[in-house]
Amino acid sequence: MRVETVPDPVIINPRDAIIKVTTTAICGSDLHLYDGYIPTMERGDILGHEFMGEVVEVGAEVKSLRVGDRVVAPFTIACGSCFFCRKELWSLCDNTNPNAKLPETAYGATPSGLFGYSHMLGGYAGGQAEYVRVPYADVGPLKIEDEQLKDEDVLFLSDIFPTGYQAAENCNIQPGDTVAVWGCGPVGQFAIKSAYLLGAERVIALDQVPERLAMARTQGKAETIDFSEEHVPARLREMTGGRGPDSCIDAVGMEAHGHSIDAIYDRVRAATRVLATDRPHALREAIMACRKGGTVSLAGVYGGFLDKVPMGAAFGKGLTFKMGQTHVHRYMKPLLDQIQDGKIDPSFLITDRVSLDDAPDAYARFAERRDGCIKVVLKP
């Protein structure tokens, strides 16, 4: 992880735009790359998929943007015209991954390309940079015309706000529902707020980092469980009248921490990066805790093969699983409206503001959950 000077990006395709980045951020999913759990990263790759800025150049086919527009870019790249885009399944776009062969072999089909997230998912240079090339710019970037809105108010429309929101929406929340959220990182915090926005009666949040639990209580108004101190499934059962949460959101993904025997087993295997890349402890717990007929909604990223996932419990309780990369394009405008209406101020999350040059150190702090670091915003 280091900061290097590279040539400025140029327009390659007619639907490209070049954005001068004004604000960008480090995402929790960048840590999967940083820690080496996502294959097909190469030295020299530029990371970053949460960014916004000013349009400085547009390709011949981009009619919806002009030089000088202020935009937030979705982290998923979508063509807008394939079967999946037409169904608003933007993160499953057929056409934006130039390296489709890899996921076609590994996953059976390719998801959309992503900024700065491995060659398997496109190999696109990311936005933790001064300039970035945005392909299919006539479909993705959202114009921010309200000058009252600061970058920090809208930056998270690029990923984590829609991601937390989709996780909650996937829960199909009904009146009276209790939603449990594993992980009080950035996506977890947005999932908590979104669950309330969508009508949840109660939200219970789980983590072991004190500042994150505190943020979930004060900002998110969630009840919290510190999993380093309590037995999660038993505690959740007690808190929900013996039923279990109606929906469980896994906002952790492949690098879960835990203190039980299965978590230790995962750690040993994943340490090799070969026997396993994913440590699905949070997912296992969510499945075990969820009430019969409930929904397990996965927002955290998984990459490979999961071991010892209790499918018997999932089947026996008739659970519904919802998952996948966020269809960011679907949520950007409606969530911008929520911000403008004052229903939510996404900037509550930011704990660290540093320059791009200090990114490596910020990565380390974020990865180690050091110094209260929850969300890092970078200024090029």
Partner: protein, 250 residues
Amino acid sequence: MNDPVNSLNSFQPAERQIKDPPASDHDPRSQAGLPSMLLGSGVALFGLTRRSFRGTALALLGAGVVFTGAWSRRARPAHETAVRYVLTINRPRHEVYEQWRRLEDLPGRMKNLQSVEKSDERHSHWSAKGLLGYIVAWDAETTQQEQDTRISWRSLLGATVPNHGSVRFSDAPNGRGTELEVTMSCRLPAGILGPLLARLGGRSPQSQVESDLRRFKAILEGGEAPTTSDQAAGERSLIGRLTNSWAGSR
């Protein structure tokens, strides 16, 4: 990246479907490989009974011999490489068909195909990128053409990589576009080495056809093919630079 075999070669549906003929008892091939399989099994069994390091090595060696024997028994025509890929394009069948017939407009936007020149309704000249940047060229003849349904082609005498194939167009259900099925067969140069080298170089006919078909789809659906080649990056590692120069940047 493609060989001549490239993707969109001359298209025409092959009458000869490229299926491996089954080995029959009368086929001399049916005996091929048997001796080495028997010998290999013997060596492997002997090795296993030794229960020593050397025994294990011997057993592995025997297993290898069995494998080569079995490999040689795979019935297939002499070094023919078969290609088959199916995908759905979210455009009407007539449009997809017409675009395919006008493939000469697409090279440059395809990765492997270099150029297509039509000499008359049935004949055309093709060139495509091969291994290590070699250009492979051939003349093709349309052997069958059925409006909006099917096109078959074969290369004419003198092709570096003789090939024939067909592409079939059919409606996907409920207005979901057009299903495209491409089958092709080609003979790479250098006998058994050709396909192996092509594979190592990331330019097997199958992968080249796949990648150009995906680009064809992307262009029809979204007007352009996605790419990251020529984009800025930090300093690549030695391995990264080597694989890029060998297989071509993605």
